[in-house]
């Protein structure tokens, strides 16, 4: 009868008394012990388990055996390095035997440690660590930059280029209000002087009352066309746009820059605004009748305070 048979045979009564969990734990712990001790520990622990008074004690004992298995296995591996001729009778403790798996594990661990050291040294030598540090983004910094000063450009002498005083859009008020009054051009043909010194009284005078049109109701808000770059750079200026508007308030031709604001961005914005306003111009009237007419008007791009 082998020790295992004896253990199993002897364990049956204890198993019947104490239930399965404690026995299962004890058997599990014993069988996971070093092979040289597994049979002995299983039988010994089962015998001592049977000596426990009650079920909680048996369960505590079984859990302790699980813990003991781990310590015994550790001790066994530690003492395996020491040669020993100690042998007892049945269940002799056999120490000092190296398994091939033990050598493999130690070699593997040693190799991994060696590779780790080589990698670290390689990193320091080649500056790999510095690259890694540089790759890691540092904390975000906020630097307050001085705003570029707006170019101080004197407003162009628009009046010198225009025969009639044009109207001005202002961005100060987003809802651009245009002066309701229109310019009234009137001309009265003078009678030619008669030779002989006597002038005939005018028999008939021809007078055409012209009211020049301009941006009317529903005209786009100039603020919407102020370029963002110009806002950021503080660009301001006055662009003079010449438009030809038909009798229905629509553009008859493409608008043109009559006088530049000094900024290409503002000039383009002024043209876009003029184009977008097609259909919202007030037509020029002559004697109350809408006619097609070309006229300039000014658009001021000015930053709000």
């Amino acid at each position: 009868m082998t020790p295992r048979d004896e253990a199993q045979g002897g364990a049956r009564p204890g198993l019947a008394r104490s239930g399965g969990l404690s026995h299962w734990l004890v058997r599990h712990a014993a069988r996971r012990s070093p092979a040289a001790l597994a049979q002995r520990l299983e039988e010994e622990w089962l015998a001592d388990l049977a000596a426990q008074a009650d079920a909680p004690s048996r369960l505590r004992f079984a859990l302790g055996c699980c813990w003991a298995m781990r310590i015994i296995a550790r001790d066994y591996l530690a003492s395996a390095a020491r040669a020993s001729d100690h042998a007892t009778e049945h269940g002799a403790i056999v120490l000092g035997q190296h398994g091939p798996s033990s050598y493999f594990q130690r070699t593997t661990i040693l190799f991994l440690i060696l590779c780790l050291h080589v990698f670290v040294i390689y990193g320091f030598v080649t500056g790999l660590a510095q690259k890694v540090i540089q790759a890691i983004p540092g904390p975000m910094r906020t630097t307050i930059l001085d705003q570029p000063r707006a170019r101080e450009m004197p407003p162009p002498p628009i009046t010198s280029f225009l025969p009639t005083p044009p109207r001005i859009f202002s961005l100060v008020a987003p809802t651009a209000q245009f002066p309701p009054d229109a310019l009234k051009d009137s001309f009265i043909p003078q009678p030619l002087p008669q030779p002989g010194g006597s002038a005939l009284p005018p028999t008939r005078s021809t007078q055409v009352i012209r009211i020049v049109g301009g941006p009317g109701r529903g005209f786009p808000d100039p603020d919407d066309y102020y370029p963002l770059d110009s806002r950021r750079l503080g660009e301001t200026g006055v662009a003079t746009v010449r438009v030809c508007v038909d009798d229905t308030g629509r553009l008859a031709s493409a608008p043109m820059i009559a006088h530049s604001s000094g900024s290409a961005r503002l000039d383009v914005a002024a043209l876009k605004l003029a184009m977008a306003g097609s259909g919202h111009y007030r037509s020029t009237t002559e004697d109350g009748k809408p006619v097609s007419y070309c006229y300039p008007y000014r658009i001021r791009f000015q930053l709000k305070q």
Partner: protein, 101 residues
């Protein structure tokens, strides 16, 4: 026995095990007996017993009973060796306790 003494790490739990055997050094005790005398948990007791046995302080044998007749498995019985008794006595003498042998 012709066996070299191996160093034994002495802890409070080891002292309790030795103390349990030194109450009557000629007694053979099973693990369950030592557990009751020393108040040790099984997770602590059995590694100590194996260490002391491996160091030559204890010898052990199976209980000479028939499991089927007694209705329980055989117990493993431990006993102090002469070396173990001497070394345990020295240790307890160091701690100021006399041991009658």
């Amino acid at each position: 026995m012709g066996k070299e003494e191996q160093p034994v790490r002495m802890s409070l739990q080891t002292l309790r095990v030795l103390e349990a055997f030194l109450e009557n050094p000629t007694d053979e005790l099973a693990g369950a007996d030592v557990q009751k005398r020393g108040g040790l948990a099984s997770g602590t007791l059995y590694p100590i017993l194996l260490r002391l046995e491996s160091a030559g302080w204890f010898v052990s044998r199976w209980e000479a009973v028939d499991p089927s007749s007694v209705g329980r498995p055989r117990r493993r019985l431990y006993r102090l060796t002469a070396t173990g008794l001497r070394r345990a006595s020295e240790i307890f003498a160091t701690f100021g306790r006399g041991v009658l042998v």
